[in-house]
């Protein structure tokens, strides 16, 4: 547990919660990133501009991090490209099939006590843990 960062993580989580709350209370929208992105990749007339604005904000926030918190990009672990491609395909396909990701289900849905989001979040944390366990097992045995 020597890597634990409870305070920065808690404060970061509060910022995420405030941002998602602003989307809800001001615009009436769920801040689910996979859904917001999918709506831009397959645009519906009149329901696209706010998504582009949110994603532009996300990217500008990302640029700001380079200056105010460069350590945010100390990735620590970068998987080989074939693994990242497989992971990206699974994340893209899976979040559409399951109607959400860590933000839409994990934050917004869980807070609303949505049964679908509670089940989805339990599922992706469990299968994520299983994937990490199996990946480490394969890496150790091939060493």
């Amino acid at each position: 547990m020597h890597n634990l960062t409870p305070f920065t993580s808690l404060f970061g989580g509060i910022l995420i919660g405030l941002s998602a709350s602003a989307m809800l209370l001001l615009d009436g929208k769920i801040a689910g990133i996979s859904g917001i992105l999918a709506g831009v990749l397959k645009p519906v007339k009149g329901d696209t501009l706010w998504r582009i604005c949110f994603l532009a904000g996300l990217f500008c926030g990302g640029l700001a991090l380079r200056i105010v918190l460069p350590s945010a990009y100390d990735f620590g672990i970068v998987r080989p490209l074939p693994i990242l491609i497989m992971a990206g395909l699974l994340v893209g396909f899976g979040t559409r099939l399951g109607s959400g990701c860590t933000s839409g289900h994990g934050v917004c849905g869980v807070s609303r006590l949505s049964p679908r989001s509670l089940v989805a979040t339990g599922t992706f944390i469990a299968t994520g843990a299983l994937a990490v366990y199996l990946f480490n097992l394969v890496m150790e045995s091939s060493r």
Binding site: I16, G17, S21, G61, V91, V119, V132
Partner: protein, 155 residues
């Protein structure tokens, strides 16, 4: 216009939150998912912070007649559990554990300029296209089933 500005500002704060919390660092994400190894509980604090704030906001929104800058709330209403939800979340979790990125942090990290992030995001976008293509096929198959069952009833 104000609503769009609010979207932009929310995205910006969201990215700062992701960066500060550690979500943009696969080592923190994979460390959190490594329950059977050197578990890093930090991400539980991220969820605690985000969920606590949003829980209050959601209670508040229930008593508002409409959002402050828009006419209607666009909230999901489904409560049923189906196979797509479970299978989709299963696949997403595996991808999340393998790469250490979920969609928000991946898009935010594009700003780092790191090549592997571009590769991940491109694959993620392709995965989304793949889903809409496959579900298009599924819809066609369902239409056929409806047509054929309809004709069976006619007979």
């Amino acid at each position: 216009m104000k609503a769009l500005l609010a979207s932009f500002a929310s995205g910006l704060v969201f990215a700062l939150g992701l960066g500060l919390s550690g979500m943009t660092r696969p080592i923190k994400v994979i460390g959190f998912l490594d329950f059977f190894g050197a578990w890093d509980a930090s991400l539980a604090f991220v969820m605690l912070g985000a969920i606590t704030v949003y829980f209050v906001a959601y209670r508040w929104c229930r008593v508002l007649p409409s959002p402050l800058l828009a006419t209607d709330f666009a909230l999901p209403e489904r409560r049923d559990l189906d196979a797509k939800l479970i299978l989709g979340s299963t696949l997403f979790g595996v991808g999340w554990g393998l790469g250490g990125f979920c969609p928000g942090p991946a898009l935010t990290s594009l700003a780092s300029g790191a090549f592997p992030v571009f590769v991940f995001v491109a694959a993620m976008g392709f995965g989304m296209y793949l889903h809409s293509w496959v579900s298009g096929l599924g819809a066609t198959a369902t239409n056929w089933a409806i047509v054929s069952s309809g004709s069976a009833q006619d007979a």
